[in-house]
């Protein structure tokens, strides 16, 4: 066991977990943040995507023991951050995914939304090619992607207004 000091969604969390656990395991099974999904658990699907210092990263292939100095954002962090910044309703990207019907089972959504968040933070007005490339590490077995891309376009427009 090791005590990890993690910066999760703006809070400092001290949590004891086996030293060899992945960030995904610590988030899901120690901290109770189950929004980050455990899909393939080996880097293929992107369902476990979190942001480390704003950069999309696979939690299933990150050791908790190597991310203590990074600010970790999970899907659960978006709404509180949006509200803390004076926003109303849902986070604009989450809202756009909802309005576009960009989900069916929803398993890919946390990862998709975080990849989209990181893209829009860097590039508020992406081309459709840039959107596709930025989401190309997130697999969706249900939607066929079209409405997901539309949601990112809508979120980009919304953020400009």
């Amino acid at each position: 066991m090791r005590v990890f000091r993690l910066q999760v969604n703006g809070d400092t969390v001290e949590v004891a977990a086996p030293e060899h656990w992945t960030l995904l395991e610590v988030l899901r099974y120690k901290i109770g943040l189950t929004g980050s999904k455990q899909g393939c658990d080996k880097g293929d699907c992107g369902a476990c995507t979190v942001l480390l210092d704003g950069v999309p990263t696979l939690a299933c292939l990150s050791l908790a023991a190597t991310v203590e100095t990074s600010a970790i954002t999970t899907i659960e962090g978006l709404l509180p951050a949006h509200r803390a910044n004076g926003g109303e309703g849902a986070d604009p990207v989450q809202d756009a995914f909802d309005r576009c019907g960009a989900l069916q089972c929803g398993f890919c959504q946390p990862g998709m939304i975080l990849s989209a968040k990181a893209l829009l933070a860097k590039n508020p007005n992406p081309t459709s090619q840039e959107i596709k490339q930025s989401l190309s590490g997130n697999l969706c077995r249900c939607t066929g992607y079209t409405q997901i891309y539309e949601a990112v376009v809508l979120a980009a427009k919304g953020e400009q207004v």
Binding site: H20, K42, G43, S62, L63, A65, S136, G137
Partner: protein, 340 residues
């Protein structure tokens, strides 16, 4: 759910500390860079070290810097995303930046490092599987077993070098700076490989790749990378080919290099093919003819095996196609060559 085996994690802050931690244990230890190869392999019980030495705190191993003599030093911990988005690297060494850009998907490029890509384990469809899957098959020579499922009765593992940046670094004549218990060494990347899929490198796993050095490019150096894969993202190469062309002031090629990957244990330099390009001039018939000859020769010299996924006859049919397209892309300053 795939659990990691139990191990302890060390977080050194210098190269010397990392080497010491690697040796100060009776059992096995492994270096961890981005973890995008080591972690899946540990989850599959292909490696079960007792200690993991994580390299993320070693400042010396980060950064991409031009040296006074015009060469470039890339810290082994530079991520593939760093390499792919570095403007000067893209201009000076297009094959490398294109290869880095085509590795897996965005998240994996944010995590995966150039050093980890050079040191990548070889891959095989009978090996990169869970313990349960492999046990059902009766294992294989590379791990836990005695047989090879690719070459019946074969005595040597032929798992394939599948690292996209390796052929690019080969064409560029990169030098690798290693640290080990006795100090530092530098070796040309061409000397790193051996024809053994079980461990395809001449350095031990306890030696630390600190940096990759790229020589100053010639005045008109061009390059490109071509990659065959099933999908436009995430997938490892089914075949990859890197090109370097050096042109003189008249636009005639005076030096060239080609190197292929995803065939066998070593990245595969195509020296005879490269020689056919010298003396030809892009835009003229001499070059067009040479491209056809090179593509035909590449198809003779590159023989994909059923070691990695993908029909090997299809992969073979694509060798000349990708070689030709990558050559034209290099000459025209385009690339990368891939299907999406």
């Amino acid at each position: 759910m795939l659990r990691l085996p139990k191990f302890e994690v060390k977080n050194p802050s210098t190269v010397e500390e990392a080497i010491a931690m690697m040796h100060a244990i009776d059992g096995e230890a492994r270096f961890l860079a981005g973890g995008t190869d080591l972690n899946p392999n540990m989850k599959h019980r292909l490696f079960t070290p007792e200690r993991v030495v994580a390299l993320g705190g070693i400042e010396e191993m980060f950064g991409i810097t031009q040296q006074e003599d015009g060469s470039m030093r890339i810290g082994a911990m530079a991520t593939l995303a760093n390499v792919a988005s570095h403007a000067e690297l893209g201009l000076a060494y297009p094959a490398l930046s294109q290869a880095a850009l085509l590795v897996s998907g965005p998240q994996l490029r944010n995590m995966g490092t150039l050093g980890g890509n050079v040191m990548l384990d070889t891959r095989c469809q009978w090996y990169n599987q869970t313990y349960f899957w492999r046990s059902a098959l009766g294992f294989c020579m590379k791990k836990d077993g005695t047989k090879c499922h690719v070459i019946e009765g074969g005595s040597k593992c032929v798992a394939a070098a599948s690292n996209d940046t390796a052929p690019a670094l080969m064409t560029l004549g990169a030098e690798l700076e290693f640290a080990n218990a006795t100090g530092r060494t530098r070796m040309p990347i061409a000397d790193l490989w051996q024809a053994d899929g079980i461990w395809n490198k001449k350095v031990a796993h306890t030696e630390l790749l600190v940096a990759i050095h790229l020589p100053k490019p010639s005045a008109d150096q061009r390059g490109a990378y071509g990659k065959l894969r099933d999908r436009g993202s995430i997938d490892f190469p089914l075949f990859g080919i890197a090109i370097r062309l050096d042109l003189d002031a008249q636009g005639t090629i005076f030096d060239a290099a080609l190197c292929a990957v995803a065939l066998q244990a070593r990245p595969w330099p195509l020296k005879k093919a490269a020689a056919l390009l010298c003396g030809t001039k892009p835009g003229e018939e001499s070059f067009t003819e040479a491209v056809e000859q090179v593509a035909a020769l590449a198809a003779k010299q590159c023989r994909p095996m059923p070691n990695i996924p993908g029909d090997h006859e299809y992969r073979h049919a694509m060798v000349s196609v990708y070689t030709k397209r990558a050559l034209l892309a290099a000459a025209n300053g385009d690339g990368p060559v891939h299907h999406v």
